[in-house]
């Protein structure tokens, strides 16, 4: 267990360092934007006002409120305080709502959509890839070109195609939103059913893209392992095929798990765009609103939350990887 603790602490340290860096980037980058965001809001509010001192007063009030007239360092501490208080400050475009208020509901939608979709896609993709490597022949010949084609499709393209086929032409599923526009979120059957129906298209568009990429990777890993010396040796020893296949896929699986940890960020990016296409009420749509409103507290908060989600997912995968592959622990305890 000693080796594992070292591994765990090492990973935890890395997680914290990355978090701090991500946090800094999140604070600094949006504030480098040219132009004064407060001026934009004030000009919108003061439309038709001819009294310049009045406009000046409004500007002053908002600049004080958002803290944009303070030095960068002080702004940073205000930001840190807001984050720890949990409200992320006020949204510029949707004042007087706080950022936390705007994104509170969308986090649940995004988390409930993306992580199950990525995991399901990963599982199906790996199973298909392993089968293709093991069965070869016709299955492989059909599955591979399809996977290559599907994985080359941009995520938003898959979303649009699914939407046009199943939403617009066949009318099986609704084309936008997270639930029926005539419903109020509640625990009624009609609401839950509406959520399930609206869930299908965004879910499958993410799953399909993930399947393609994972199947290709798993296939080449399995082919590699199937040709390894230990497989030949086991065959000569007369060990049952079923048992060998078990070992082979366990070994082929390991790089795929690391692959998942590394590619989860990219996948989330693609899935966010898919959310926008389906007007799914998640973080993707929130980013879109924030971009359109020039609302940098909102952008900062959304990207920070996405980063944290990805970091945690990564951390969990790496930690469980240590359990699955004993060699990792061994390498750490030296």
């Amino acid at each position: 267990m000693k080796g594992y603790r070292k591994y765990f602490l090492n990973k935890l340290l890395w997680f914290l360092i990355t978090f701090v860096c991500a946090f800094l980037l999140n604070f600094i980058l949006p504030r480098l934007m040219p132009g004064d965001p407060v001026a934009a809001i004030v000009s919108r509010l003061a439309q038709g006002m001819s009294n310049t001192t009045g406009v000046q007063a409004i500007y002053q009030q908002y600049a004080d409120l958002f803290g944009t007239n303070k030095p960068m360092v002080e702004q940073f501490f205000i930001y840190v305080r807001n984050v720890f208080r949990g409200d992320f400050g006020f949204s510029f475009a949707q004042y007087p709502r706080t950022v936390a208020d705007v994104i509170k509901s969308s986090i649940v939608w995004t988390a409930a959509l993306q992580f199950p979709a990525i995991i399901v896609g990963w599982l199906i993709g790996n199973t298909l890839g392993a089968l293709a490597a093991y069965l070869k022949g016709g299955f492989d010949k059909v599955l591979m070109p399809v996977s290559i084609f599907v994985s080359n499709f941009p995520p938003f393209g898959m979303a649009v195609i699914l939407m046009v086929i199943f939403g617009v032409s066949l009318k099986w599923f609704p084309t936008s939103g997270g639930y029926g526009f005539d419903l109020i979120p509640s625990f009624s059957w009609s609401f839950i059913w509406s959520v399930i129906v609206h869930y299908q298209l965004p879910f499958w568009s993410i799953v399909l893209i993930a399947i393609g990429g994972q199947a290709i990777g798993m296939r080449s890993m399995s082919i590699y392992e199937l040709n390894a010396d230990y497989v030949k040796y086991s065959r000569f020893m007369g060990i049952k095929d079923r048992k060998i296949v078990g070992y082979v896929f366990r070994n082929a699986m390991l790089p795929q798990i690391t692959g998942l940890a590394l590619s989860i960020g990219t996948m989330v990016g693609g899935a966010l765009v898919a959310e926008i296409i389906f007007s799914y009420p998640g973080l993707g749509s929130t980013i879109l609103t924030a971009v359109r409103g020039g609302d940098y507290p909102l952008i900062s908060a959304t990207t920070l939350i996405i980063t944290i989600m990805v970091l945690i997912a990564n951390f969990v995968i790496e930690i469980s990887y240590g359990f699955i592959d004993p060699r990792i622990k061994a390498a750490q305890s030296d």
Partner: protein, 416 residues
């Protein structure tokens, strides 16, 4: 090195992918030579004109008519004017009037019309029908009568002296115009987009810009990744630690998030296509750096490298002659993937509204963004988004095919 490049073309997959790619590339250069219209010129007044050949109505009146007597021309004319809704309404009336439903075929225009003419009686009162509905049928009946007339259309001019209309010409139903004799004909193979621009011309220009974005971002990412990977792997020590710190950091922070933040902070005015490309390049080198470093570490202690060191060659010389040739194949594969990833990243950014500023050049992502904002996918205007999607898919597909081909050349285990 030359030998390496020759090997590429032994793989069927590589050659196939390469041909698709070259075909797309050639098209983006040849098309503007043939049709030199500016890609963002607004030609159509209105949104989403369907694909087709647009013939000037005014000009076709001026040309000499040719008489063609074609069978079924009248039926076709009526069929094209009688829409689906009217057909169903006719069926509804006929059924209500007591005609058995299985005798009515809404697809057969001639039979439907005959049945209608025989049975329709405007005075007949069908129980349960509203007055508005009955008036609708009377109007429908009148318009059907107009359809069946065999007289030509009259062209009249205003007499400048009396102000009355005077007949100048009659266009009979058998008059045809030869499209070659009409002065103004515009072919719009993919129709027009939401702003009324020719989609094909726009698409070709957009493909070229997107490819440039891909090349610039891919080259920047690969060069940075290669340099840092070589330094980290070959020199090792503190340099390695520092480089790997940043590489590990940025592989975990989603690059898409970085892209959003940076493009947002650049601001709408400053965002040109090349700026976006540079930003994409700067946020996507981590993979290449990691992989190059791993390969260099395994090469660093080989005999030929050690021999080179003993002979007193400089680090630059050793890297170029003893290490680069071994990782060249990998670097090229990484470059290809980076190019297609760059094109995709631009498209995703543009959908978020963070793409290049919109007035100068079209890109594939911007075209997709415009189509989505105007809900082309829900309105069924496939020509606004499908050609864009197919182009993106073809580019990434050809790139990945090249990559798989190369993989098979260099990894014998993957060969079939």
């Amino acid at each position: 090195m030359k030998h390496t490049f020759q090997q590429f073309f032994r793989s069927g997959k590589f050659v196939f992918g390469f041909s698709i790619f070259v075909a797309i590339l050639l098209l983006t250069f040849i098309y503007p030579l043939i049709i030199p219209d500016p890609p963002l010129e607004i030609v159509a007044q209105g949104t989403f004109f369907e694909p087709g050949i647009y013939v000037s109505v005014y000009d076709s009146l001026g040309t000499t008519p040719h008489t063609l007597n074609l069978d079924g021309a009248a039926a076709k004319r009526i069929a094209s004017k009688l829409n689906e809704e009217d057909r169903l309404a006719m069926k509804e009336w006929l059924v209500a009037a007591g005609i058995p439903e299985n005798e009515i075929d809404t697809a057969d225009t001639q039979k439907l019309l005959d049945l209608w003419m025989d049975n329709y009686d405007p005075t007949e009162n069908i129980p349960g029908m509203t007055n508005a509905r009955r008036n609708y049928f009377i109007r429908l009946n009148n318009s059907l009568k107009g359809l069946l007339s065999t007289e030509g259309a009259i062209i009249a001019e205003v007499n400048p002296e009396t102000g009355t209309l005077e007949q100048v010409d009659v266009i009979t139903q058998t008059d045809y115009v030869n499209i070659n004799q009409v002065a103004n004909v515009r072919v719009l193979p993919f129709g027009t987009d939401n702003f009324g621009r020719d989609v094909l011309t726009e698409l070709v220009a957009a493909t070229r810009v997107s490819l440039v974005i891909g090349f610039v971002s891919g080259t920047i990412a690969t060069l940075i990744g290669l340099t840092l990977g070589l330094l980290a792997g070959y020199i090792g020590g503190v340099v390695d630690d520092i480089i790997m710190f940043f590489t590990n950091l940025f592989t975990v922070i989603p690059s898409f998030v970085l892209l959003i933040l940076i493009s947002f902070s650049i601001g709408q005015e400053q965002r040109g296509a090349v700026t976006i490309a540079v930003v994409i390049g700067l946020t996507s080198w981590f993979w290449t750096a990691r992989a190059v470093r791993a390969q260099v570490i395994s090469l660093r202690n080989r005999d030929h490298v050690n021999l080179s060191k003993l002979s007193g060659h400089s680090i630059v010389h050793i890297i170029i002659t003893d290490i680069l040739p071994y990782i060249a194949s990998y670097v090229i594969m990484a470059l290809i993937l980076q190019i297609s990833a760059g094109i995709l990243a631009e498209a995703q950014l543009s959908i978020l509204g963070l793409g290049p500023r919109t007035t100068v050049v079209p890109t594939l992502g911007l075209m997709m963004n415009w189509a989505l904002i105007y809900q082309a996918q829900i309105l069924g205007k496939w020509w606004a988004y499908l050609p864009v999607l197919v182009t993106i898919a073809l580019i990434t597909f050809s790139m990945n095919l090249m990559n798989t081909g190369l993989d098979q050349v260099f990894n014998p285990a993957l060969r079939e």
